[in-house]
Assembly symmetry: C3
Homo-oligomer: 216 residues x 3
């Protein structure tokens, strides 16, 4: 059997930390590209940038797949297999729902990015960046407070997204905007998809919190 | 380290039974408040009562959080960790979807509570009260028949809710009600949210059933 | 205790292979009946055939229930308990979402089966038949390539369904079809339900792939 330098210097369970970091780094890139696309006043360029998120979503799929392969291969894992599985799925869902939001804007032919969408995208990006910190600190477990703080903050950002959604739904149905049913369907569906991104971030934060409880 | 009388008299795995009972007790309170709110002829009071369910949903969140903390702390659990996790999640989802139903009524500006909504709320409450019995009997496992019966009944109530939903959907789309698209969206979404509460009760009952199979 | 010839010749863990095969055989029957019903030009007969899928869905529920009972009874299982659980749930979901699609066509009063629905049904059937091959080969694990190939193909079929959905959604919202909001709701909901069948097939294939990684 060939001797692998790579394996020598990265013990088997270290691979999971690297893969989780790849995933959150990729998600941050996705979140930044999403926020930037929504800010673009040129609709053609905006839609092109949103379509481009597809590539980042695929990149995340590959990391997810890699983690599951490593999980199948390794008997020893840095934390519970089930926690690795749930965290991976949550991070994968974050990418899926950002891509789902981007797709809806393009495919539903959304003409105007409203204040709710901008604010929601900002919350999504902040939530992902906060997750990135928590994941990075998992590697050495030296700064437990930083991990806990990041989990608490992700939960609080999910509440913010919830409130943004609720307020937007009330406005959609109170008749004040004078929009037709098809326009209402488009916005309701898009707002809900965006809010779900923060739910998935919260799922990820909850796993990280439970890892801390067990291993701290 | 201080000596805790509480811990002396409640062995560690007993804590899970207490927490599950707290959760189902809380859910029954939520279900009763939900049914009562829908029966209130005064719309302002109805909406206020529905908004009040938020507090009960938060109370349930806290129990859920507590169970996950105990799960992280305890090596020995009264039944499979995975079953505890799934049951907790299902009970938490029951609270979430009742709150989701309450929110929709208020935020969608639903003017009239129709027969389907009343009947659905009744099925939800009965389903939760049946779950409460099953959960209470888990503690001593002396009355297995009572547990099985409660699981069977929750499954049958979920079928009732399914039939209520199906009949309501047929009426929405057969053109007989002469309602506009936005009204259709509101009702369809609300009916589906309410039916999902019974799905989550069924999920909880299915875990309880699988616990019985393993430990009886 | 009576001596069971059946048990003599089918070691306990073999029961899982048989049950998984029963489930996928049943799903193939469901998929074929679904495709055939959609092709029926007589709407009354079509709707009757679609309603008939209910029975097959119930049959699948029973297999699902049987697998969970066996899982509770048996300490030794042919592969990880969690994988058995996830695979069973995914196969059950496939049946649920086919039935959900059939129901929507009938209950939403869908007048015309369009090209997207036909193509989507074809992809669903092909996906299920591909799963059937993978599941059948699990029994002896002699033909790993056949299993892997089937998983790859199910993933690729899910992409096909995604593209069908995306294209159909674009057409719904680009204003070219001149349909009203209620018609749009019906089709959007039905397309999405059908696409979800292939997501669930993909979930099943992903578990099968992870079983292969661990046991090969």
């Amino acid at each position: 059997m060939a001797f692998s330098l790579n394996k020598l210097f990265s013990p088997k369970d270290r691979v999971f930390y690297s893969l989780f970091e790849q995933s959150t780094n990729n998600l941050v890139e996705m979140g930044e590209a999403f926020v930037a696309a929504l800010r673009d006043p040129d609709r053609t360029k905006r839609d092109m940038a949103l379509r481009g998120l597809d590539d980042l979503e695929h990149k995340n799929d590959e990391v997810t797949h890699q983690i599951f392969i490593e999980l199948g291969r390794n008997f020893i894992t840095p934390f519970d297999r089930e926690d690795i599985h749930t965290l991976t799925t949550a991070l994968d869902d974050v990418a899926d729902y950002i891509w789902g939001s981007a797709k809806r804007i393009v495919y539903y032919n959304v003409a105007e990015i409203d204040e709710t969408m901008h604010k929601m995208a900002d919350v999504i990006l902040e939530s992902i960046m906060t997750l990135q910190i928590g994941v990075r600190e998992l590697r050495n477990m030296k700064n437990l407070k930083a991990i806990t703080d990041s989990c608490v903050k992700v939960n609080s950002l999910e509440n913010d997204a919830d409130e943004l959604l609720d307020a937007a739904i009330v406005r959609l149905f109170d008749g004040s905007q004078n929009i037709d049913a098809i326009e209402l369907i488009k916005r309701k569906d898009l707002y809900e998809e965006m809010e779900t991104v923060t739910d998935k971030c919260e799922d990820a934060a909850n796993v990280i919190e439970s890892i801390i409880i067990k291993y701290a």
